[in-house]
């Protein structure tokens, strides 16, 4: 009897074989993005070659490449990169859990939402650049700790919002089901709320990792002596546009790498959402 209905659904595990030329397929998939990069590179090359006044602001691709090699071989780049990575990691470790905690509280407790909600939103409207110097002096001056706090603050809001939206999106019927099954609060959290909120949390985390990178640059703008942000500002100070651009590109690469890491984690964790291959 069940067979008659079953026909409308797909089988649970359709056979899946790895296609041949997987590498070529991936390349083909990435090709449009690579072409855009090539176009920008070409535009950049010809623009900087024709205008002498631009040379103080933008280095030629060749000069950037040269500086990159230089900074890499003498260890300067890796040194600053290490500092930035540490600051990003600390900022995320600080900002993400605290945002999740507060987001959960505001989502589940009307009183907390009424009391704290306006301040959370209001705080988001405060430009971090304006308060960063005050913050850094209050936190014992420029250094890894204070810069990490700036990074933590910048990821706080998107992470809190994603936690809030995720927890609020748990359907009322499923909550009722868990009540009917006498689930404990902890069981309700990790078997219902956490997995239901996961799509939203991963969205917030993707935004957060890239923002954390930006956060370290904001933090390093005020008296820091290490980090890619510092490298950018000090290069600009001595009119070395190539150094600025090497810093910018390294930051971009770092942000892309972090984003890709989260995206992979997301694909693994949310396999149930994707159609089976």
């Amino acid at each position: 009897m069940a067979q008659t209905i079953s026909q409308t659904a797909q089988p649970a595990q359709p056979p899946y074989t790895k296609p041949r030329f997987a590498f070529l397929r991936r390349l083909w998939y990435r090709l449009p993005a690579l072409l855009v990069a090539l176009a920008i590179l070409a535009l950049w090359h010809f623009q900087t070659r024709e205008s002498a006044s631009l040379a103080f602001v933008i280095a030629t691709p060749e000069a950037v490449w040269q500086t990159f090699g230089q900074l890499l071989s003498n260890g300067t780049l890796l040194n600053h990169l290490g500092t930035t990575v540490l600051e990003v990691a600390l900022g995320l470790c600080l900002g993400v859990p605290s945002a999740l905690l507060l987001g959960y509280l505001i989502a589940r407790n009307r009183f907390a939402e009424r009391t704290l909600g306006p301040y959370v939103v209001g705080f988001q409207a405060v430009p971090l650049i304006a308060i960063a110097p005050i913050l850094i002096t209050r936190l014992g001056g420029p250094g890894i700790a204070s810069v990490s706090v700036v990074a933590a603050l910048i990821v706080f809001f998107p992470m809190l919002m994603s936690a809030f939206v995720g927890i609020r999106s748990v359907p009322a019927e499923l909550r009722e089901l868990f009540r009917a099954l006498n689930a404990s609060p902890w069981q309700t959290f990790y078997r219902l709320e956490l997995p239901s909120a996961a799509p939203s949390l991963f969205g917030g985390l993707k935004v957060s990792v890239t923002l954390a990178v930006v956060g370290t640059v904001v933090g390093e703008a005020y008296g820091a002596t290490a980090g890619l942000g510092f490298m950018i500002f000090s290069s600009r100070f001595v009119y070395n546009p190539a150094g600025v651009m090497v810093g910018v590109f390294t930051l971009t690469a770092l942000a892309l790498l972090l984003y890709e890491g989260v995206a992979r984690l997301e694909r693994r964790a949310l396999r149930w959402r994707a159609p089976q291959p």
């Binding site: 069940a2 649970a12 009722e176 009540r179 009917a180 689930a183 996961a198």
Partner: protein, 247 residues
């Protein structure tokens, strides 16, 4: 088995249920019918221990129901499956929440899935199931705790007509085999008479029990019975008890 004693329910100034008393005998199949908004779902939530009535009480084997009991299973209008769990894990959920060992719950769930014709979809996610299969999985989830009483809130109303008839027959078959006590809310006169030993009629707000109709049709029920004169007479009688226009 399951008894409601003078149950009243108010939500603020709104009176939803007005002095409801009835009892289900063990193994009985009872349908609760009434116009929409007459408090049928509220009544079921009280019987399930999900809602404390404003006055009166619900009793299971003479004991007041203050919280949901594993002996009382509930099936909602929607399948309410967790989208991130496989069908098997969904069916296992009540056992997992009670701390039943992995091996034990797997074998129980496997059996339930096989009974419901879902064995080959055990590893599929709910999004890959048809509406009928999803509701079947929800039924499996309600059955793994082996409840004595099954409360059903319009369980087939979201299904298409053909799937619905099929599920009705399967449920009757399951009931006949397991002799569970079933209280099913419906808004279909045909479904109520086709399924039940007894039909309770609830009036529009505030909901009160206006009539009880015994259904003396023989078991097992067959789809063709719907067209018999006895069935027609019972349907007419039931309709006359329900004083809501357009039902």
């Amino acid at each position: 088995m399951l008894r409601l004693e003078g149950v009243w329910q108010r939500f603020g100034a709104l009176e939803v249920l007005h002095n409801i008393s009835f009892e289900l005998a063990a193994g009985e199949f009872v349908c609760l019918i009434g116009p929409s908004g007459c408090g049928k779902t509220t009544l079921l939530r009280i019987a399930a221990g999900l809602l404390k009535p404003s006055a009166g009480q619900a009793l299971f084997n003479g004991e007041p129901i203050s919280a949901p009991l594993p002996e009382i299973g509930i099936l909602f209008q929607q399948p309410t499956l967790l989208p991130y769990l496989s069908t098997r894990a969904n069916v296992e959920l009540p056992l997992a929440l009670r701390g039943v060992s992995r091996a034990a719950r797997r074998s129980i769930a496997q059996q339930a899935l096989a009974q419901l014709g879902l064995a080959e979809f055990a590893e599929a996610y709910p999004s890959q199931l048809s509406g009928g299969m999803a509701q079947r999985a929800a039924l499996g989830r309600a059955l793994v705790q082996n409840p004595a009483v099954l409360l059903m809130d319009e369980p087939f109303s979201a299904l298409d007509a053909m799937t619905r008839e099929l599920m009705q027959l399967e449920l009757l078959d399951l009931w006949q085999r397991t002799r569970k006590t079933i209280l099913m809310v419906t808004h279909s006169i045909t479904e109520a008479i086709f399924m039940a030993d007894r039909v309770l009629v609830l009036t529009a707000r505030p909901g009160r029990l206006s009539a009880t109709l015994d259904v003396p049709l023989p078991r097992p029920r067959r789809l063709a019975m719907v067209h018999s004169p006895e069935f027609g007479a019972l349907a007419a009688q039931l309709r006359s008890h329900i004083n809501a226009p357009g039902l």
